[in-house]
């Protein structure tokens, strides 16, 4: 990846504060004191819980006899039993597979639409852009639990306005909540909630590009579409990469939408997504130890993404500093 720097002084490109004054106090104590609140909260509410999860994942419940009465249940060291269970559990593999399919449907669609909308918003020939931008961004403010409830109503043929129309037209449209359609049903809810956010990210990115560049291209006779494809998209490529990474992480963690839709259909199992499986083991099956092991496996998979992510971010964002 090559970075060509334009010969302009950029306000933000100031070097960090000099190490000049060199006392231990100013060099180490001050920054760490200012970071302290963040670090303390991070340790207490992210690091410690993760370590605790790790600790739980090597334990299991041991019941003796009938298991009734106090003291019949104890916690014992489990070694890697829970991990073996997770990795050999066909339900876990199946849930990962389903989520991958879901991601392959959702991410290109969501980012493609977001990019299209962002480019259209940026086009000077679009009218009512302010209204559209606000309207498309709006669903971001609706919590997934509520949006899934709303879409649930819109999916169920007996109460859906869409099926009312299909019915009137004499079309026999299968329910989106049937086993063939349920992945699309969930992807649609995520699309609805997420397209606006990603659109804004890309649009902001487009806005920070000076219009002189386009003007030059225009003088050379490039059409709007050519400008979009040849100039705009390459310029905001970093933003697209970032939204893609965040979307992938969010995809692996899909939980609220399928959980809310599950009672409405026979097509969603309690282990549809990996996190639903964790939730079921921890809460419905009361086996937090297996759930902890599965969580760790999911976290490791996500961390594989994390390092990819960090590499991309650091190369792009902080390459000059490091």
């Amino acid at each position: 990846m090559t970075v060509t720097e334009a010969p302009v002084a950029i306000r933000g490109s100031n070097p960090p504060v000099r190490r000049g004054r060199g006392t231990f106090r100013s060099r180490v104590l001050v920054p760490y004191a200012m970071l302290a609140p963040g670090i303390i909260l991070f340790v207490a509410f992210m690091a410690a819980p993760i370590v605790y999860t790790l600790f739980l994942s090597f334990q299991k419940t041991k019941v003796s006899g009938l298991g009734l009465g106090s003291g019949a249940r104890s916690t014992v060291f489990a070694g890697i039993d829970n991990y073996v269970t997770t990795l050999t559990n066909t339900e876990f593999g199946a849930s990962v597979g389903r989520v991958l399919v879901y991601g392959f449907i959702l991410i290109p669609l969501m980012l493609g639409l977001a990019l299209l909308f962002a480019l259209l918003l940026d086009s000077r020939r679009t009218r009512a852009a302010g209204f559209s931008r606000t309207a498309i961004f709006l669903p971001y403010a609706v919590p997934a639990v509520i949006s899934s409830l709303l879409w649930g109503f819109l999916y169920l043929p007996a109460v859906s306005p869409f099926y009312f129309v299909f019915d009137k037209l004499g079309w026999d449209v299968p329910s989106l909540l049937s086993s063939g359609g349920v992945t699309f049903a969930i992807a649609n809810i995520a699309l609805w909630g997420g397209v606006g956010f990603n659109m804004i990210v890309m649009y902001t990115s487009l806005k920070s590009v000076p219009s002189d560049i386009y003007e030059a291209a225009k003088l050379d006779g490039a059409s709007e579409i050519q400008i979009a494809l040849r100039i705009k998209i390459p310029i905001i490529a970093p933003a697209i990469v970032m939204t893609a990474l965040f979307s992938m992480v969010a995809t692996l963690q899909v939980f609220a939408e399928p959980t809310t839709l599950r009672p409405l259909t026979n097509s969603l199992s309690t282990s549809w997504s990996p996190l639903m499986l964790v939730y079921r083991d921890a809460f419905t099956r009361d086996d937090i130890y297996s759930a902890a092991a599965t969580s760790i496996v999911i976290a490791l998979v996500t961390f594989a993404f994390s390092f990819l992510f960090l590499r991309v971010v650091q190369k792009r964002a902080f390459g000059q500093e490091d």
Binding site: T2, T4, V8, R11, G12, N14, P15, V17, R19, V28, V30, P31, M34, L35, G38, F42, A44, F45, M46, P49, I50, Y52, T53, R124, R125, T126, S132, A135, F137, L138, Y140, P143, V145, I146, W151, V159, W192, I200, V201, T204, S205, S208, V209, P210, S211, P234, I236, A239, V249, F255, A256, V278, A292, S295, I298, A299, T302, F305, L310, R316
Partner: protein, 301 residues
């Protein structure tokens, strides 16, 4: 891949940019591009429109009349919802405002100071601290909620407002964004100059750096506000006392009444409508500060 680093206008808000471009280069309207955006807008507004229609129906109309046909019971439903358990719904709204509002404010301040330090200071261990914080972005909340419960139970804080507030103040993503904004908008000379004048570090941060990071902080605030407001799992696990519930957990309870009681669909739908409205207003008011300059902002740095 080649990226061209270009001069940017970091301080300009979206709306300004739009107005400027509209004035200077207003061109012939394109029905196709306008049309596509309007279709997108309709897609996004349709469920909201549905809620509005549905919340105007009483419970039998909800299941017996055409779904988009408005009725006349909106006010009755609001009254009924307000009377439910002596106005518990409004207590939930207040709780949500506290969790999301206070949580997001605190989170914004902590993200800002952490991001500022990580962007503008050189100190040993900086890279490690940043990398570890950044990894937090990828840990799902559902996984954290259970151990967080156990740890908070150790100090007797479960089933209190703190148990929902405290875990959500730390936001690795907010810190990441704040670092980008600080790098882009805080000139080193200003900090140096203030130091020469003998200003304390906290004073410099609160009085000089914070205002400079302004619009970026609004983004972090909104981002965190939505994150807290969206987080169902944490309050659901932490809270047993329904007086402390946020709206989402409260409404979900009205829906999941157990087999022997009817789900209160009308109340839930009316509640959903009422709880979306303040958010819409918040967004409309603050949206021109939205500046989610994820990567472009990063390139600027």
């Amino acid at each position: 891949m080649t990226t061209t680093l270009v001069p940017t206008r970091p301080d300009r808000s979206l709306r300004k940019a739009e107005r400027a471009s509209a004035r200077t280069f207003r061109q012939k309207a394109s029905p196709v591009s306008t049309g596509i955006l309007i279709i997108g807008a309709i897609y996004c507004l349709f469920p909201v429109f549905w809620v509005l229609m549905a919340s105007s129906k009483d419970s039998s109309e909800l299941f017996s009349t055409f779904t988009l046909m408005p009725s006349t019971h909106l006010w009755d439903n609001i009254v009924e919802l307000s009377q439910y358990r002596d106005g518990l719904f409004w207590r939930w709204v207040l709780n949500t405002a506290i969790y999301a509002g206070v949580g997001a404010l605190a989170s914004t301040w902590i993200s800002a100071i952490s991001g500022y330090v990580l962007a503008k200071f050189e100190f040993p261990g900086k890279k490690v601290v940043f990398s570890i914080l950044l990894m937090g972005v990828l840990v799902p909340g559902v996984i954290l909620a259970i151990p967080q419960y156990f740890l908070l139970a150790e100090v007797g804080l479960t089933n209190t407002m703190w148990s929902v507030l405290l875990p959500q103040i730390i936001s690795p993503y907010g810190i990441y964004l704040a670092r980008i904004y600080a790098a882009a908008s805080v000139p080193t000379e200003v900090i140096e100059a203030s130091r020469t004048e003998g200003a304390g570090e906290l004073y410099i941060f609160n009085r000089i750096v914070l205002p400079m990071m302004g619009p970026g902080l609004v983004t972090i605030f909104l981002f965190q506000f939505v994150a807290v407001w969206n987080n169902f799992m944490l309050p659901y696990i932490m809270l047993g006392d329904d007086q402390l519930f946020p709206v989402t957990v409260g409404l979900s309870g009205l829906l999941n009444q157990g087999a022997s009681a009817p789900s209160m669909y009308t109340l839930v739908i009316t509640g959903a409508l009422l709880s979306i409205i303040p958010l819409i207003i918040l967004f409309l008011v603050l949206q021109r500060y939205w500046k989610v300059d994820l990567a472009a902002g990063a390139v600027k740095a």
